[in-house]
């Protein structure tokens, strides 16, 4: 397995399978873990950082889920390759900066990834397609338990897992769900939904862009608090609230299809038309139009396309993916042209 093999496989978060996958793209859990008494990555010296990499590497690669995983030293990779991993949601944008002592471990199916020496020594992440947060928790729990048998994790009886940032102390757990809410946005109800979610102690933000202006109508819902609640309850809490948001989006989709059908069909087909004929297109416009045709596919307004293809376009049209497909660096203007070429070819 090589990094380039990922290019020809569907990343877990865009497979378009799993429960409620017409509305939820993917679910994810992440745990922040540190080695006891070793300075956190931002404060450790070079020798300590190398030592951390050495200590965790073999232990991680001995874990059940990660026996065939790739171990990537980020400094040995090109910038495009690093951005490629960020675009596939296998690591954070921060992890692609100051890469001298950073590493990433990814399993061949792109379900589990572990960042080494991000802000915490370990950031373990598990991703599942569709609405499947509890399964993400189950997998990450197993991996974490196995790691904690061999690695001395920093832990206090009172405050739990000790992390570089106090906002992660306690369980170190962040659960999140990536959710496509075009109908709630279309119907002008999204503001109220966002407010309600925030009041319930969860975070919600746009995946691209911010707040109610989320380009592509894709939002990320996650827990805010990580101490004082057990892990299952954190995941369960998000699960319950997201279930309600899903049913709200679902009802609104049905209502729009009945009451506002013409406007909806017009919007969807215009988006389809633009994507099929544009010669120059930016990432932002692409994401906005793909959101419309995804809804069109979900509501069977576009019949000759499947969700998998739409999802694939979400990922392949990003800058690093385009450059890897072309096999060379592209400036932003060239990218906009190549992006349009790729979309036209796929939608033909």
């Amino acid at each position: 397995m090589k990094l380039d093999d990922f290019l020809s496989q569907d990343s877990e978060w865009l497979k378009g399978t799993g429960p409620s996958s017409n509305i939820v793209l993917s679910s994810r859990t992440r745990l922040a873990r540190n080695l006891d008494k070793v300075p956190f990555s931002n404060w450790a010296n070079k020798k300590q950082l190398e030592e951390i990499l050495k200590t965790v590497k073999d232990v991680i690669l001995s874990v059940n889920f990660l026996k065939n995983a790739l171990f990537l030293r980020l400094k040995e990779m090109s910038e495009v390759d690093r951005l490629f991993l960020v675009e596939r949601h296998l690591m954070s944008p921060e992890h692609a900066k100051d890469v001298e002592y950073k590493a990433l471990i990814v399993d061949p199916k792109e379900i589990v990834s572990i960042m080494v020496n991000e802000e915490d020594h370990l950031r373990i992440q598990v991703m599942q397609s569709g609405f499947n947060l509890m399964e993400c928790w189950r997998i990450i729990d197993e991996i974490d338990t196995e790691l904690s048998r061999k690695l001395p994790f920093a832990y206090s009886a009172k405050w739990g897992y000790l992390t570089a940032c106090p906002t992660n102390t306690g369980t170190g757990l962040r659960g999140s769900v990536m959710i496509h809410l075009p109908a709630l946005v279309f119907a002008g109800q999204i503001g109220r939904v966002l407010q309600a979610i925030a009041k319930l102690g969860l975070n919600i933000r746009g995946l691209y862009g911010e707040g109610t202006e989320a380009t592509g109508n894709i939002f990320q819902i996650s827990n805010q608090v990580s101490m004082g609640i057990a892990e299952e309850d954190i995941a369960g809490g998000i699960d319950r609230i997201v279930s309600q948001v899903i049913s709200r989006e679902d009802t609104t989709r049905k209502a729009i299809t009945q009451k506002n059908r013409d406007a909806l069909v017009d919007r969807v087909l215009r988006a389809y038309g633009t994507l099929k004929s544009a010669h120059i297109i930016t990432s932002n416009e692409t994401v906005a139009l793909l959101s419309a045709i995804r809804l069109g596919v979900d509501l069977a307004l576009i019949k000759n396309l499947d969700r998998r293809m739409v999802n694939e376009l979400f990922i392949l049209t990003q800058p690093a993916h385009l450059q890897k497909i072309e096999g060379r660096a592209l400036d932003p203007n060239e990218r906009d042209i190549k992006r349009a070429d790729l979309i036209r070819a796929k939608l033909k």
Binding site: T145, Y161, T169, I229, A230
Partner: protein, 166 residues
């Protein structure tokens, strides 16, 4: 010049945004600028917020706090206020007078419930089990279930003596 968003009012606020290396200049009226401002809150980072929070509710002399230093890694409380991140796991103990109220404010709780790591959490697990047994015993005594209480007492004794040996 008219506002780029509403196109009706005079633009008085001029913004330069850089997104994906593309520079966009926006000329906005005051009202639209306010709305746009909500989107820009993100730039006011977590670090600033944490640093601000860290200063609230301090009971210790401020000057002394500034000089507080973690004996394990040399990180100072002043460093924490600057970057919003700690130096190592021992910093939690070194700065606990300041961190306790901060953690409570962030999480609304000041005690971890949930997982215990196998290697470093062994004693924690025993202590937690012991506490639970003691609570059960108290309850049994209150409810006058003395047989149950005696059984729990023996269990506690056994655990405590095992703890001493180990």
């Amino acid at each position: 010049m008219l506002c780029d968003i509403c196109g009706k009012k005079e633009a008085t606020v001029h913004l330069t945004e850089i997104v994906n290396n593309q520079v966009t200049k926006l000329h906005l009226c005051e009202e639209c600028a306010k709305e746009k401002g909500a989107e820009m809150e993100e730039h006011f980072g977590l670090n600033d917020l944490l640093a601000g929070l860290a200063d609230l509710g301090a009971n210790v002399e401020p000057e002394m706090m500034e000089k507080l230093k973690c004996p394990a890694c040399g990180f100072t409380y002043h460093d924490f206020k600057k970057v919003g991140r700690l130096g190592c796991s021992e910093c939690y103990e070194a700065f606990k007078t300041k961190l306790a109220p901060l953690l409570k404010r962030i999480h609304g709780a000041d005690r971890h419930v949930g997982k215990i790591p196998l290697m470093t959490g062994k004693t924690v697990k025993d202590t937690r089990n012991l506490q639970e047994l003691k609570m059960k015993m108290e309850k049994a005594i209150q409810q006058e279930e003395f047989e149950e209480a005696a059984r729990l007492r023996d269990q506690i004794r056994q655990m405590e003596s095992k703890g001493k040996e180990g």
